[in-house]
Amino acid sequence: MKPMTIAEKILAAKAGVDHVKPGEFHWCKVDRLFTHDPCAPGVLGVFEREFGPEAPVFDPDRFALIPDHFVFTTDPLANRNLDQMRAFAKAKGITLFFDPYSPNYKGVCHIALVEAGMVKPGELLVGTDSHTVTAGAFGCFAIGVGNTDAAYALGTGELLLKVPASIQVKVEGVLADGVGCKDVILFLLGQLGVSGATYQAIEFCGSTIEAMSAEDRMTLCNMTTEAGAKAGLMAPNQASLDYLAGWSGDFGPLIQADDAAVYSRVIEINAASLAPMVAKPYSPDNVVPVGDCVGQPVSQVYLGSCTGGKIEDFLAFAQIVQGKQVQVPTYAVPATTAVAEALIRHKIGGVSLHEILVDAGVRLSPYPGCGACCGGPVDTFGRVNEPVPVVSTTNRNFPGRMGHHRAEVYLASPATAAATALTGAITDPRNDSETKEPS
């Protein structure tokens, strides 16, 4: 048997062949599929046009409809899209539909997918969002596609895929205090550039990755798409399996890369040497150590999104702002309803994260979603509507990404965002000595 990478092994299994190699095209069986509200009209429209309005979907239990981008807005077209999702879910018997105006609502799709049991090691997950790669944290080959591909998969349960070459990223050692997973991926983006992994998979390994929590691993895989990667992948560690088990029971055999697997490139990162990193406007690869932009005034801080709105992101933020006051408007949006609930459950020194944030003057939204990250409807909570500098824990800072065309978005970790919120200028979180242990 020829050695293969994780990506090659999963695609070979889904193509029903013993071996695949980079560059080959294969029809692959799609295990699970999802779309969200901005793409649902396109996906469902193409599906009905091509298969007919009465056609069954490939598997109603493996297709999720997840509103998260344009929710809790008065925009009539955005709300019409929700109506379309409701009608389709009802007509096709789709239970994995999380209506924002119901107790079923979850929030940001990439986190909601895990919570809904849609992410399984060794599977092929397809979604109409470039950050679908997040699920690679669990050893799932997860890719973003457009409406046409998604509609094809929705009708047939298969997709024509090109096998990507893989870049191996080895991260070894222990991160310094105040340095987190977000800093690792920003550093990598600085190395690779925004097209450094185009058409390739990024496969992470090494002691740092092994020791990482599930949510931190999701943050890493999430932003591999910012380097153009088709997928970001990791062999599941125990923490990621425990995390999955908390949401959904069963999963199949776990896939590891072969020792002799062939990689197009190997990148080694010494975790201990990393500083907190910042991606300056207007590109996620415009990365510098935080020291290079310390003192840059900001007018707004945002904590949220699929990459920066998980419970551990809130924990890192709360540890720094506890007992202090933010100096600039600071918006926080939990990724999902489960995160919002956990903000009340998780405590530092006996005080809930929710209370810590509110006491610090953070504007905390009770409505999970990701509209601000992508500059959704103008009445979206936390959207940047002025041409001002902003520090954000999100994943993109192209012109206009968070709303206003001339807003300057600096991407940073939750810790750097918190330290910055306390001063009103970009601040190195390692200067904050009063971080406290969570209880």
Binding site: P41, F70, D75, G146, N147, V194, Y199, G228, P399
Partner: protein
Amino acid sequence: MKPQRILVLPENTDTDQIITAEYMKFDPTTEEGRASLGQRAFCGLPAGFPEVIDRATKQSHFQVILAGPNFGCGSSREHAPVAMGMAGIKVVIAPSFARIFYRNCIVSGEVLPLVAPELDIAAFQTGQTITIDREQFSAKVRGCDQPIVVEPFGSLANIVEAGGLFQFARQSGRIWTL
């Protein structure tokens, strides 16, 4: 093909610049939604770029884009090639494309993405006219001696020739015809 006007765009032009996220509320499969997207093609370009859409005709002043590397990076939105196609921009030539955008162009058949590895946009100016010879995989910009050489589609040629993924799947008997 008859001569067409070019719009020159820099490297890493992302899908937010092609169509900003807020307009993803338009349905890219209805006539009304598609027209709304087309009228807003390249609405996210920063200041300093020429007007793309003619206010009277709602069509693009330019029919072909010559871009730097990694065109269409960022979001997976298929609204981007739909907006371009509806505005009358049917061809993009660039040294390289972001994966999802390229794929969306091919499977939807909305826009023809041509890879020209040696293309250097510094040699061209917005508003020049271009003639594309698809048979010869080359393009010629008026006033420039060197032709632009584009790569054949390789394994994807069948999908391109069919006009999209569904057309290809029907022609090859992979799915039933409605």
